[in-house]
Symmetry: C2
Subunit: 475 residues, 2 copies
């Protein structure tokens, strides 16, 4: 097993910290680990404690009476070199330094960071951090979150989130509220050692991971990143949001994680070469992977749209072209079926507005026939369904859910959904139910279309390069 | 009173329709109007009914025993010309044609639309529609929504929403859930007569409206639109989302509202000339006006950022520059104050991460001091506050609310907020409370920054052109 695996699949961990109660720290970490169901051995280390949360505390790393796969260090930054030294003597090979006060703080911190890298390198130790909120592996209940998040269990699934910040870790993002599942989470922190390349390599080979979503402020080794990404992207989509694009942003990044700037145009060209998909917004780190996680890959880029309102259909059409989708033309058969339901309905985007108004309450009996006809159309590769969740949502909700259940069995095409309506509570409830069923629902119309566009573009890219076209997110 | 005012301020209305119960139609319209508290006279018209919802129904428009300021027509499209003829005989000057089946449907419908325009023009009648979900005026409880929306009352405020689609009307957008207030809503529909220029003119002079947000698929008269906008934009911000930008989108638009395409580059140049602010996404129709509605105008473009996480601070910095904001440098005094709270805190973006982790529970006592110091800094014109709503949100929530209450009294600078955290329910609750207090909270980091950027850009534009720099949204 390569050392990097020990960060995610340790059988035994040491936690070196203060064990004070509070919303942050080693005490919280132990609590969260136990609640998440981690089955490995936990060795708290602190000379001033004898027991924490019913677990024996050891006075030093050396005193732990067994091997340690992974150590978490959460002590004042000045003490970190000494602790890493103790870890070296103990034969520990993987260390997460949660502590901050290193290169992101000042010159002195930068020197301290160099010192721990030196110690680690001599001892064959790999470090994640410093200045990190850590790691999650959903497969083994390994959630050593150092912050009180209000939950500890995260649904298993194919999406890996790596980030040069703690803002994608469990304390900062509502993973418990998501409809799709996560494989791994990793905050690189200052990435004094383990970096985006190591993670990309590891996640590229991780069978539990089907899509990799990354937030980066810098690239440590451009050439290696490019080479690694080239190997991974034909097998799994790699999505990257990079900040520090402007000089002011780069300056802010330097004092956040002590990062060096990289010219954004060069980075962009490299991404294109390596097949990396660049993201533009923070929310896309979570919204774009959904389609890869939940839906089958598109067979082509011909988009069918069904909408309760023509206006949104027009907006969606503009967006679709922007992201490389083509507007499908319905087959004559489908057009005929739809026109027999209501005159003029057999056009893309399929505009339900007139028929909904004309048939009023009776319309919901027709609705499933429309969506089924469109989804079965041979001219359509992928679908955007725009649902109006009206005030009598309770009544129509069951119809939507039954229809989607049927599509899940019968429709091998990716389907994204945007919901709008007169009540936030109603739309949120229906969105959640559809996502739990395996259909991605987007907060923005534009995010829905973009995600579908990205999924198609990835598919085409993989085909062109002769990569493995099996669904990277298949069960 | 110009005729156009009768659409929003009628003393008496006729509703010509079927009065069948259901989620759409004239029956719903009467119900909604009464629940919303409309005090004018309502005259239902239908030869087959004698009473609906306790109101007397008249067999024809002619039979109504009083003058009619405004008529709503909701009958089959073929009958619409006849009814408009009856309205003409009765001396009605304003008609809303809710019915569809006109230019958006087919050639026959297009001819029918020409016919009603002819009849109306000869009689001096103005028409909104056909194919429209209608109008709202919050000032007089005038909400003749023809769809069951689940609510009828909309908070009064300065934001006017006009749209070439019903998707911004009460049945489709959760106005009851919004923190800011609305002045008028209008769906132009096919805009066979009253169009975006008429609305712009009317809303430009409407004292209840401080900011105008429009969705358009086409412009009926480019020159007039430009001239009207030039008069309005120095007094009130005009925000426009235009679809049908691509040929495919324009084609979809033709079958939605029977619109003619307009070259997007020409439209863009015209907007710039006229001081119109272009939007890019559907959600921005509602998210961007919030800052104009709720916050004081910025004195300049120097942005201060306070964030719980450095990573988001870096992203926000990149975005800020994109929208013309400049990163503020703290005054020496503020830097000193912050550095005395925690070493290194006195830098923009102000990164609370390290101090929050170090002080843990005690941190919330420091928090107000940080935000107050930054908001009072003379080098800062406007503020982005990024709040981490942690799992113990209940405890910190009161601290945030008290602090914002204080800022509302003391801080004359615009402040936008982005919330993130481990629970959707917690972040949504705090967001709602802050918005109710008058502080715009955004669903996306990028939307928060962009809104602030747009507010600054508008302010600068108004100053440069010597327009009225009084706050257009002041009470």
């Amino acid at each position: 097993m390569p050392v990097i695996s020990k960060f995610f699949e340790p059988d035994s961990i040491a936690i070196i910290g203060s064990f004070r109660e509070g919303f942050f720290g080693s005490h919280v970490m132990i609590k969260t680990l136990r609640e998440a169901g981690f089955k490995g051995d936990i060795y708290p280390v602190n000379p001033s404690y004898r027991e924490v949360l019913g677990i024996r505390v050891f006075p030093s790393v050396a005193a732990v009476p067994a091997g340690i796969d992974l150590a978490f260090i959460m002590v004042g930054c000045d003490t970190v070199p000494m602790i890493i030294g103790e870890c070296a003597s103990k034969g520990v090979r993987a260390v997460v330094v949660v502590s901050d006060g290193f290169a992101e703080r000042n010159e002195k911190g930068a020197r301290l960071q160099e010192e721990i890298v030196d110690i680690a390198r001599r001892a064959g130790i790999r470090i994640i951090g410093p200045n990190t909120a850590g790691i999650v592996n959903t497969a083994n209940g390994f959630n050593p979150c150092p912050y009180e998040a209000g939950y500890s269990k995260i649904k298993e699934g194919p999406v890996a989130i790596c980030s040069q910040t703690g803002m994608t870790n469990p304390q900062a993002y509502p993973y418990a509220d998501l409809g799709y599942g996560i494989s791994k989470i990793c905050d690189f922190g200052n990435k004094c050692d383990v970096d985006e390349c190591d993670l990309l390599e590891y996640l590229g080979n991780d069978p539990a991971t089907g899509v990799i979503s990354m937030y980066l402020e810098s690239i440590r080794n451009g050439r290696r990143f490019l080479e690694t990404a080239k190997r991974v992207t034909p097998r799994k989509p790699v999505l990257v949001l990079k900040s520090g694009r402007t000089p002011e942003g780069a300056r802010a990044s330097a004092s956040h994680t002590g990062s060096m700037a990289v010219d954004d145009r060069i980075f962009d060209a490299a991404c294109r070469q390596a097949g990396i998909i660049r993201l533009e917004k923070f929310s896309e780190l979570f919204e774009v992977p959904k389609i890869f996680a939940l839906q089958p890959p598109p067979g082509g880029n011909r988009l069918g749209i069904v909408s309760y309102t023509g206006g949104v259909g027009v907006l969606a059409t503009d967006e679709a072209l922007k992201y490389g989708l083509a507007m499908a033309r319905l087959t004559d058969d489908t057009a005929e079926t739809l026109n027999s339901i209501f005159p003029g309905l057999g056009e893309t985007p399929v505009d339900l507005g007139p028929v909904a108004a004309a048939r009023a309450a009776g319309f919901m009996d027709l609705y499933p026939r429309v969506l089924e006809a469109v989804s079965a159309d041979g001219n359509i590769d992928c679908l955007l369904n725009i649902i109006w969740s009206n005030s009598s949502a309770g009544e129509s909700e069951e119809i939507y859910l039954n229809l989607y259940r049927k599509l899940k069995r019968n429709c091998p095409k990716p389907l994204v959904t945007w919901l709008y309506g007169s009540s936030l509570a109603n739309t949120a409830r229906l969105a959640r139910k559809l996502e739990e069923m395996g259909f991605p629902v987007y907060s923005d119309l534009e995010a829905a279309v973009k995600s579908l566009g990205i999924a198609c573009r990835y598919r085409i890219q993989v085909r062109r390069k002769g990569g493995n076209v099996n669904d990277p997110c298949a069960d």
